[in-house]
């Protein structure tokens, strides 16, 4: 029931987000319409970080309490997390082609996001390899905790790696004091993505619970 309400809220917010991104927000002066990818790109990556935070929380919770609910939370957060990271990379790539002239560059943020993506794809692969629920949950939790602890280390290492090779030439495409309409449109889409994520999370947890009931 709560999931259904969340679903409708997410749908409404996404429509509002679309209107804000295409109707309300002005055309960006330098980049033109391409800049509107930002309304997909930035909320997606913020949601992905939220998701991986929840994977960490779920993993920690499981190891401390051994309640299957925590493991279901970790699983239900990891799948959309990977999805949103994928959206971030794909949309960034599409955005990069017209603005930077290339689909991919080994820029610090791109690289660390890609590493993050690979870590959690590995996490999901691992989950698929074990059938016994408690063993799967324990193994996944350890990988989930290490993955989260690793995020800042990956971030800094990749940043320095780029800094040492060449000065950061690629700067964020938006000019820094962000215009209010753009910020508002961004905020709307961020809310929409968070709601969508919450809906997917609730649904996935529900399915996982049914799976566990069926298996047990």
């Amino acid at each position: 029931m709560a999931a259904r309400v969340l679903g409708w809220l997410a749908a409404l917010a996404l429509v509002a987000g679309l209107v804000a991104a295409f109707g309300y927000a002005p055309r960006e002066a330098v980049q033109g319409n391409v800049q509107r990818i930002m309304y997909l790109h930035v909320p997606a990556v913020l949601t992905a970080y939220l998701a991986f935070g929840l994977v960490f929380l779920g993993s920690l919770g499981y190891l401390l309490t051994r309640r299957p609910g925590w493991d279901r939370l970790a699983l239900a957060a990891a799948e959309p997390g990977v999805l949103f990271t994928g959206i971030t990379i794909a949309s960034g790539s599409i955005w990069g082609k017209p603005t930077w002239g290339t689909w991919w560059t080994w820029d610090a943020r791109l690289t660390s996001t890609a590493v993050l993506f690979l870590v959690y794809v590995g996490y999901l692969l691992l989950r698929g390899m074990v059938d016994e629920p408690d063993r799967r949950a324990r193994a996944a939790a350890v990988v989930g905790i290490l993955g989260a602890a690793n995020i800042p280390i990956v971030h800094f290492s990749v940043k320095w790696w780029r800094a040492l090779h060449q000065p950061a030439t690629i700067l964020g495409p938006e000019s820094s004091p962000i215009a209010t309409p753009i910020a508002l449109a961004l905020f709307t889409n961020w809310i929409a993505f968070t709601l969508l994520f919450a809906y997917l999370l609730a649904k996935r947890m529900q399915i996982a619970r049914l799976e566990d009931m069926h298996a047990g």
Binding site: L63, V115, L118, V119, V121, G122, Y123, L125, L126, M129, V130, R135, R138, A139, A141, V142, V143, I145, L146, G147, A149, N150, I153, V154, F156, S157, V158, W160, W161, L164
Partner: protein, 222 residues
């Protein structure tokens, strides 16, 4: 601490008698050397330019083989239950296995360095102290994650596939830090040039070690 020693001692002893891991790993390093040589061609400048990366590629590939075997031998010989039933703190087993892996990696690294020196006509003697520090920090990081993940994947199907898929993205910081620091050292620059990287490696080592120590007992349960 004493229990960790016992685990190391047991592994070193069985390795000394069987030599199954070490022989295969040394031979594997020689093969890697050939692969590098064939891939890069005979030009010496190219090898020298790529040297830090090649070295760590060699270490990490040998490491993957070593880490995968760490706990597999316990399973193959039906000793897993014995480990689980060991009284007291399970993290001692982690420390022991980790120390064994670091030891094994150190031997493989020494062999690889000698091979590189001989086959590519390089001289490492002048940079040895700095290089050893970088190798020690990098190896500790690799082995901490590798031992933990090796224990996880030892009990799974498709483990030889899963270990690299989990380990490689997780050790990206170690790889970046080690390769950059190795480059600095090999260029003959003072170690202070790579201070930031060494600090990052040390920090990463500590984080991985702590996570490994705290979570290992959950992995061991079987």
């Amino acid at each position: 601490m004493r229990r960790a020693w016992i685990v190391v001692w047991k592994d070193v002893l069985s390795e000394r008698r069987s030599k199954e891991s070490l022989n295969a790993l040394v031979f594997f390093s020689i093969l890697l050397l050939f692969v590098f040589q064939f891939a890069l061609g005979p030009e010496r400048a190219r090898v020298e330019a790529a040297l830090p990366g090649l070295l760590w590629l060699g270490f990490i590939l040998s490491g993957l083989l070593a880490f995968g075997r760490t706990f597999l031998v316990e399973r193959e010989n039906d000793c897993w239950e014995g480990l689980v039933l060991t009284p007291g703190d399970k993290s001692a087993i982690y420390v022991g296995k980790l120390a064994g892996n670091v030891l094994l990696m150190a031997v493989v690294e020494a062999v690889l360095l000698v091979l590189f020196a001989v086959f590519f006509g390089l001289d490492f003697t002048g940079v040895l102290p700095g290089l050893s520090l970088v190798l020690a920090l990098g190896t500790l990081g690799l082995a901490s994650v590798g031992t933990l993940f090796g224990a996880i994947t030892a009990q799974m199907r498709a483990r030889e596939l899963l270990l690299p898929v989990l380990l490689l993205p997780a050790v990206v910081p170690i790889l970046l830090g080690s390769v950059s620091a190795t480059q600095t050292v090999l260029l003959g620059q003072p170690l202070a040039e790579a201070a930031a990287w060494l600090k990052l490696l040390a920090a990463a080592d500590v984080v991985y070690l702590v996570v490994g120590l705290l979570t290992f007992e959950f992995v061991l349960e079987g």
